[in-house]
Amino acid sequence: MDTGPLYLEPRLAPRLAALLGSAPFLHMLVDALGSPLNVLLPDQAAENAEGFRSVYRRHRLGGHVFFAHKANRSRSLVRRLTTADAAVDVASLGELRHALGDGFTADRIMATGPKDPAFLWLAARSGVTVNADGPGELEALAGLVRRHGLPRPRVLLRLCEFENSGPRMLSRRSRFGTSVKALGPLLDLLERHRDSLDPVGVAYHLDTTSPDEKAIALEGCLRAMDDLRLRGFQPRAVDIGGGFGVNYLAHGAQWDRYTSELTAAVMGRRPPLTWGGHGYGLHSEAGTLRGALSLYPAHRPVAGAAYLDALLSQPAPTLGRPLGTLLLESLYDLYTEPGRALADQCGLSLARVLEVRHRDAGPAFVRLAMNANDVSLEDHGILVDPVLVPRDGEPAGPQEPVGVHLMGNLCLEADLITRRTVFLPRLPQPGDLLGFANIAGYCMDFSATSAQQQPVARKVAVRQEGGAWRWCLDDEYWPIEEYRPITDSGGQA
């Protein structure tokens, strides 16, 4: 049994690390705007997009990197990406209106996800690409186009259930997309609606971390593109969705150690590491470990743009050549939809420590001015430590690592910020802040609500200028030069 503190320290890129090191600035923001507070780093999103573009360049591929907007409701991230070599994919009418209103032109927007008539209408009306889920949606879209005299929309066909010859790769069942086995009827439909729909390519999105499954799907898409060509269409793009992942942890060894100790705890060989002995999907049956660890693989040596690079470098299962080479040789553009990976290192949620309650047995309770919905790490299975941002500098005297439970501000037994015991380098004090780093992708505002009338986190966008941090409300961020004093030159140049 390992008795030391089981840290899961977050991986911090220089920008986010510098921000977390600016304690007075962060305290000033929370004092002014309240706890919880979401802080966004839009410049980082642009840098991440550039990372993906460099992989495109390495493989000589054209196409778009679409930011999956649903990963974060922030305006500043979207507005900043308009000035980067990036596009945006929107999964609702609201997101589409936001993207159009905040500076994306239709040629850089794609509508994805389940769509209602108004969403489809605005997509077609504005001329964005529609990533169609199936025949029903295509029929609906074609109907709208004809009835309302709309421009002929570009459509991508979302496919699923790709099969491999030889070893059969099982895939998690999906409710989305059209089975490749039913591609024939889908193409018949497109032929019928040749005047109303412009099929520009095919798409897949698989909910898996396995590059092998994605390779099978990508090869399946290449074959489907050929079927489109045989019907006389000129498809140009293959959309391989997102799911490139994020590496949340600074040290792989901490993750290995933590998960081993968690296994030992589930097997009853050490005290529990979680509230109520929760096993995160694992349990013990007659001395044998059962179940599967339902956690995000928080340490991922290959994630984000590097994952895309690895996927494109991987040989196609039956065609043999690297997938990126096959795309290039077939003259196709590549579309990707990274959400989590484009928001990597882009955000921080801050919560004020309200109370530290010692207990006779077991870890102390640390109560935060925040609840589990404000930072949905637990919902997404992401285990990473918060960073302690002291109010008055580090206290004097020796520091002792402690394990604590992080309680939220709701009067609900379930309102724990995380079900696991969190290890901190010292016991926090009321007034300190805990910073949940790198949670802009899906964990920041995905499930935030105003339940029990607790405040929902406000959002600010920050950027470094010289040595100082500049901030504004997220809504007020525009990626342009700040206002300068107007100098009246009296008509002289």
Binding site: T208, E213, G291, T325, E329
Partner: protein
Amino acid sequence: MRYDSITEAIGNTPLVRIDPAVHGLRHIDLYAKLEMLNPFGSVKDRAAWNMARSGLPGARERGATVVELSSGNTAKALAVIAGMHGLSFKSVTNRMRIPEVKDLLLLLGAEIEELPGRSECLDPTDTEDPLTLFHQRLNQSGSAHLHTDQYFNALNTEAHQTGTGPEIVADLDGRAPDWFLACVGTAGSSTGVGRALRAHDPAVRVIGLVGQKSDFIPGIRNIDEVHAVGLFDPATYDAIESVSADDAIDGMLALVRRCGILAGPTGGAAYRGAVRHLKPIDAELTGTDRQSAVFIVCDRVESYLGYVKQRRPELLGRPPARNSVTALTDIEVRAAQVIEVADAQKWLAAERPLVIDLRSSFAYAALHIDGSVNIVDELFDELVRGGMPFSKRQPVLLACPVGEQSARYAALLTRMGHPDVRSLAGGIIAWRDAGAPLVRD
């Protein structure tokens, strides 16, 4: 030796002493139990045969499929055994990462199902892990399966308790070794052999070797994964130690190159783990106080060349070839003759050069320049390695997707003495973008 069936050749494998000059232990005799010499190639032949044997007649009557969760050697043995008895075999696994083994299994007639990867976005409606679902499917009534269940089947352990263990004792002139070291996969061999040896001499110490968590060694589980094995009981082992993929390959190299034992990485891991564990003990021993130790070489090297290539490409390195694009200088590449799309079209009409499209046949078949020949870059590379593949009097236009690769080959052919090789500037993509015709014929 004469047998009526290949299954009779399972077991009775040699116990070979490793030369002390290789392992460097002065007071411990180290022996390798060569399970790689079983007829289907691995230690798993014993367990597979022992688990399947009694169920085969019944399975044949029901037309059942033999089913196992196996990533390799057990599947291999079961596929052969099933085939010999007119049954089909299906393997379900999420651990099959060795392409050669996959191909071999397909050759043997196995059906392979690989389990999906983890979810990228956690799905709370997904309540069961794939393995649980698999077991539920197997247990549905009316399904005709013979599930050998190697991770929970006592017959797996028994094969080693009655076979492998006693063979070791017999070969050591009726004495159990002081040490037994084994990699833990299903825990069948380590548990079974351990039991047999301890029954003979309770002082035998058993060391279990597991993979390092972030590493991958075929056939071995890591320290967390072993808890999911029903046959695994921590009390079996005096110690559990971990080995890395590097250890496995180093050990394998020592066995292959210095001992003439064509072991795979799991055997290599066992050897390295054994020597590492025994070194400090050996240093304490003095005088005539000799001990003995046995480890298992569970399978052969041939299937793992891809594994080695991925981790230690230098071990399989070849000298640079003659006439290779990798030998070109940047100056030579920049000096390659390129031709813009419009000029290329005129040149084609006037002099009819040979047009070679270096893309894959898949892409070529879809769309290409009319009259061009498809020689995929990999093949073209091999062709030019041997010399000029066409007459020097024949002008040549090389085309690839963006004109980079074709420029390199144009430079190479120029260096080899061809007077008129040109590369299509911007490649097929520029050709398409210029509106020049592409055909599918």
